[in-house]
């Protein structure tokens, strides 16, 4: 475990060198939030109106937290790195070390996002308080529960992305799949809560990572409900187990295909 912590630490150390670059990424985030806040202001003609269980204040905070999640989660640097490792053969120099490459990527992922998480909590809270005001339904007591589902959400997210990225062993470019994943997460779980969709779509979404990665943690922070917490957590445990197995299977099979020429 210590070795993975060291990988996390080294990656975090690396990210500290590029703090300016990180802060610039939040410019886009701020712009997106500003657009959606104004969009929802138009949809909610009456601020006291409740649409599909969401008050105006809850909806704006949902979009804000969801957008912050989305910004942190997508982490293209890591998935692109995995793809390049495989396509250009650099993976050869990583698989002869005494660690398991997918876990190495998980440690790197957490090192990559740690600063982003801290910055996004700060930026999102400040923006929310300035543009929306206090989240009316928020309670500090829900934080430990939300924290559990957030950790699971991050794990599902990264193992899913690693599983897609290591498919580079078989297909030349996994980027289109990652693009589709990002867009699904954005449209179905981030900018609109799933309650905005028809019952059929909601049922389908509940069986997908959208429910466990974005919707679950965001919904629980905005409007905590113990029943939803249980439902999200059970779904997360099942999904994480399945995705980790798939990820390790795809990697183990692909590892045997390593083909390094030259040198």
């Amino acid at each position: 475990m210590k070795k993975y912590f060291r990988i996390f630490e080294a990656t975090l150390n690396d990210k500290l060198q590029y703090l300016g670059e990180l802060l610039s990424k939040f410019f886009g985030f701020t712009l997106m939030v500003f657009i959606f806040v104004n969009l929802w202001k138009h949809i909610y003609e009456d601020p006291n109106e409740i649409i599909n269980g969401y008050t105006f204040n809850m909806m704006l905070w949902y979009v804000l937290i969801g957008e912050a999640y989305y910004t942190v989660m997508k982490n293209r640097d890591l998935t692109r790195g995995i793809k390049e490792d495989i396509v250009f053969g650099n993976i050869a120099y990583k698989i002869n070390k005494p660690y398991f490459y997918p876990f190495y990527c998980v440690a790197q992922y957490f090192g990559n996002i740690m600063l982003k998480v801290i910055t996004s909590v700060f930026v999102a809270t400040t923006l929310g308080l300035l543009l929306i005001g206090k989240l009316e339904t928020f309670s500090l007591k829900t934080i430990p529960f939300a924290f559990i589902v957030i950790v699971f959400a991050f794990l599902i997210n990264i193992f899913l992305r690693i599983a897609i990225s290591v498919s580079s062993f078989y297909i030349e470019d996994p980027e289109p799949f990652l693009w589709v994943l990002d867009k699904f997460l954005l449209v179905f779980g981030t900018v609109f809560p799933i309650e905005m969709y028809s019952n059929t779509i909601q049922t389908i979404i509940k069986f997908t990572p959208i429910y466990t990665i974005v919707y679950g943690p965001t919904k629980l922070l905005v409007d905590f409900d113990f029943e939803i917490f249980k439902s999200v957590l059970v779904a997360q445990i099942i999904q994480l187990a399945v995705i980790v197995i798939i990820c390790c299977f795809v990697y183990r099979k692909g590892e045997k295909k390593v083909n390094v020429n030259g040198g």
């Binding site: 210590k2 070795k3 912590f5 060291r6 990988i7 080294a10 150390n13 690396d14 060198q17 650099n90 050869a92 120099y93 698989i95 002869n96 070390k97 005494p98 660690y99 045997k256 390593v258 083909n259 390094v260 020429n261 030259g262 040198g263």
Partner: protein, 324 residues
Amino acid sequence: MKAVEVKNLSKSFKTRIKEKGLKGSLKSLVKSEYEIKKAVNDITFDVEEGEIVAFLGPNGAGKSTTIKMLTGILERDEGDIKIMGIDPSTDRKKLAKSIGTVFGQKEQLWTHLTPYDNFKFFGSIYDVPDDEVEERIKEFNELFELDDIMNTPVRNLSLGQRIRCEIIASLIHKPKILFLDEPTIGLDPIVKDKIRYLIKKMNKEYNLTIFLTSHDIGDIQKLCERIIIINNGEIVTDDSMMEIRRKYFTKKIIKLRTNCEVDFVAKEGIDILKREEEYLKLSLDLKCLNVTDIFHLIPENEISDISVSDVSLESVIKEIYQSN
């Protein structure tokens, strides 16, 4: 104990072949054709503990594929490999802790970290206790003279300094074997000598087995006791340096400067490599003649300067490559 045991090792690669042009591309969409290329073909060799072995071959000969199978990167098709008694394909993690690898063209260090942080990092990766890592860093610091650069980020180091750090990082877990793939590539002659001196010293002090590939003849001459040459996936030579000298260094190069233009005619055992007015460069076959025989062919009083040297190892290796 044998450090490396390789028996009947083979590896093939399947590559897609495509006819040229757009027509070929469209055709390959419908029907893909593959070609099987045997990169390594039934090779067998051993390396004793503490030996320094050069593993040579022209580009595409199969040396890189072999090293990658030995270090657990590539899966073999057939044959057996044992590295310090460990099978790389079944126990890769255990193997990783017994070997060190330095690939001259691939950086393993984290460039934003200092050498000290990198060594600590690699120590943890290999599960070496912290106090042992500290001790080794201290030891290597003295040996490799890293005091001035220990706290400088790797990205700010020169290539020679980086290679020194790469070697230390690969030795931090005290491996029994070090695989070096072109360790001196791109370095200037002084730094090359320094790296070779350090490699030799590590071999002597720690009885470290060294398996080296290099296109630099200096590396081979100054470091290796034995040479294995691979070509077209097969081992064509596996001899000690002494044996190589005995077998292949059968010619001497003689450079002569004369007082006047001499009428020299080549005879059996002598080839004229270069002839200018008062200068001759000859290759003399020791199987036919002795070096002193030259004085029977050119009168001593006509020679103003003479030098006798061996043929270069480079040309011997080139000859072996070409003869196969």
